[in-house]
């Protein structure tokens, strides 16, 4: 299957000279989900942001549908790549419906069509348009806000979705619900998704491939089904550290 996204020797150095990405190369097949795992500060977000040119690599290239992102019109590129972040970034001054349809609206879609599209998207993410369309972001719970953020990212029917820790701030139950919903949507709409997460179980549940990044380097790119049994020392170390962290958290919760 062709790669919908391809990173070719992507390197990024800050103005101060700090190397954040070091010659990263891998591809994401069309219609599949790849999870990027790694510790905080490993360069995951920077890597994700090179796809929609929120970050311009110092060297190397990113290809979207076999075409360098540099050769796209910037606005057109961004409108064709959905983007979801943990903080949601919903526009607080407009209703949920207008938040969801902001991209069709600025692209010149008629107001009535926008409204219909907005209602359809809200239904897709499990929110009843009748009771949510006219609410404002501050009137929503964390999980509902994240659903709206996802609906907004899907509004322009982008073939690619970039998600930066979308469910990181949610409680475990809501998180599990959101994972189910996202998996269903990605399969139903055949999206190519690149998702950053700190949660190994989330990565295993949502993705078909897992990319492990450490200190700006790609250290593993393996099938999700083989991640836990991988002999790669970096992967083994990550899995051990993750499980240790989980156990410590459980103990803390038990003591509390």
């Amino acid at each position: 299957m062709p790669a919908a996204i391809e990173f070719r020797d992507v390197t990024f150095r800050t103005r101060q000279g700090r190397l954040l990405l070091d010659r990263i190369s891998f591809g994401v097949e069309e219609g599949t989900t790849t999870a990027i795992l790694g510790r905080s500060g490993s360069g995951k977000t920077t890597l994700l942001r090179t796809v929609n040119r929120m970050v311009e690599p110092s060297s190397g290239d990113v290809l979207v549908n076999r075409k360098s992102v540099r050769d796209y019109d910037l606005i057109e590129l961004r409108r064709s790549v959905g983007y979801v972040i943990q903080e949601t970034g919903l526009f607080p001054h407009i209703t949920v419906e207008r938040n969801v349809t902001v991209v069709p609206e600025i692209s010149g879609t008629r107001r009535s069509d926008c409204r219909n599209r907005g209602h359809e998207l809200l239904s897709n993410v499990g929110l009843d348009p009748g009771s949510f369309a006219q609410r404002y972001p501050h009137q929503l719970s964390g999980g509902q806000r994240q659903r709206v953020g996802l609906a907004r990212a899907l509004a322009a029917e982008p073939p690619i979705l970039l998600m930066d820790e979308p469910f990181g701030a949610l409680d475990p139950l809501t998180r599990a619900e959101m994972q189910d919903m996202l998996r269903g949507l990605l399969e139903r709409f055949n999206k190519t998704a690149l998702i950053i997460t700190h949660n190994l179980d989330e990565a295993l549940y949502l993705a078909s491939r897992i990319v492990l990044v450490s200190h700006g380097k790609l250290v593993a790119n393996v099938e999700a089904t083989g991640f836990l049994t991988s002999q790669d020392p970096e992967v083994e170390e990550y899995v051990r550290a993750f499980r240790r962290g989980e156990r410590e958290m459980e103990q803390e919760e038990g003591n509390a």
């Binding site: 929609n52 929120m54 910037l74 606005i75 057109e76 590129l77 961004r78 409108r79 790549v81 983007y83 972040i85 903080e87 949601t88 970034g89 919903l90 526009f91 607080p92 001054h93 902001v102 991209v103 600025i106 404002y136 972001p137 501050h138 907004r152 970039l162």
Partner: protein, 210 residues
Amino acid sequence: MSQFFSQYGGQIFELTLEHLWLTGMAMLFAAGISVPVGIWLTRSERWAPPVMAVANILQTIPSLALFGLLLPLPWLGERAARIAIVALTAYALLPILRNTYAGIRGIDPAVLEVAHALGLTGRQRLFRVELPLAASLIFAGLRTATVTCVGVATIAAAVGAGGLGELIFRGVASVDNRLVLAGAIPAALLALIADGLLGLLERRFRVPAK
């Protein structure tokens, strides 16, 4: 009392309109300068400290001194109203400039990040996201500036620019408190009305916290 009003009523009305004209024009100019400059400063951060410092210095010049300094200038000095409008504009710059800058700078970075990532153009980001989100603070700046200017405009009568200050100065010169009050009360009412109306706009555009 009725005799006083029949004698001065027309004048009070005229001078109130003149006062409104001076303040209104100054506010239009000040907003027309400060809002675009404030927006520009959010894009060219390094210019923010020196530009704010200039606006700050302008505001520290005593009003009477500023009117006096502008008096000998060509074109400006020909009409007292011009001097008054320029001086009042100078006083109104800082609050509007500071609030426009702070209003845009204070927007949640995640909102701006998403606005970029969704493919909003620079103009769309400004008019659909930044200005609506900063509007409440910009109106708060306009409110402060307007109330200040309504007060300072009374001093403009010292250079012959008219306005309600004329009644106050005449009242002081002739030791007639009725005249002083005939200038001071409408000026205070104008300030209160402006404060109330702009306060309404400020609240109307206030964005609820998460």
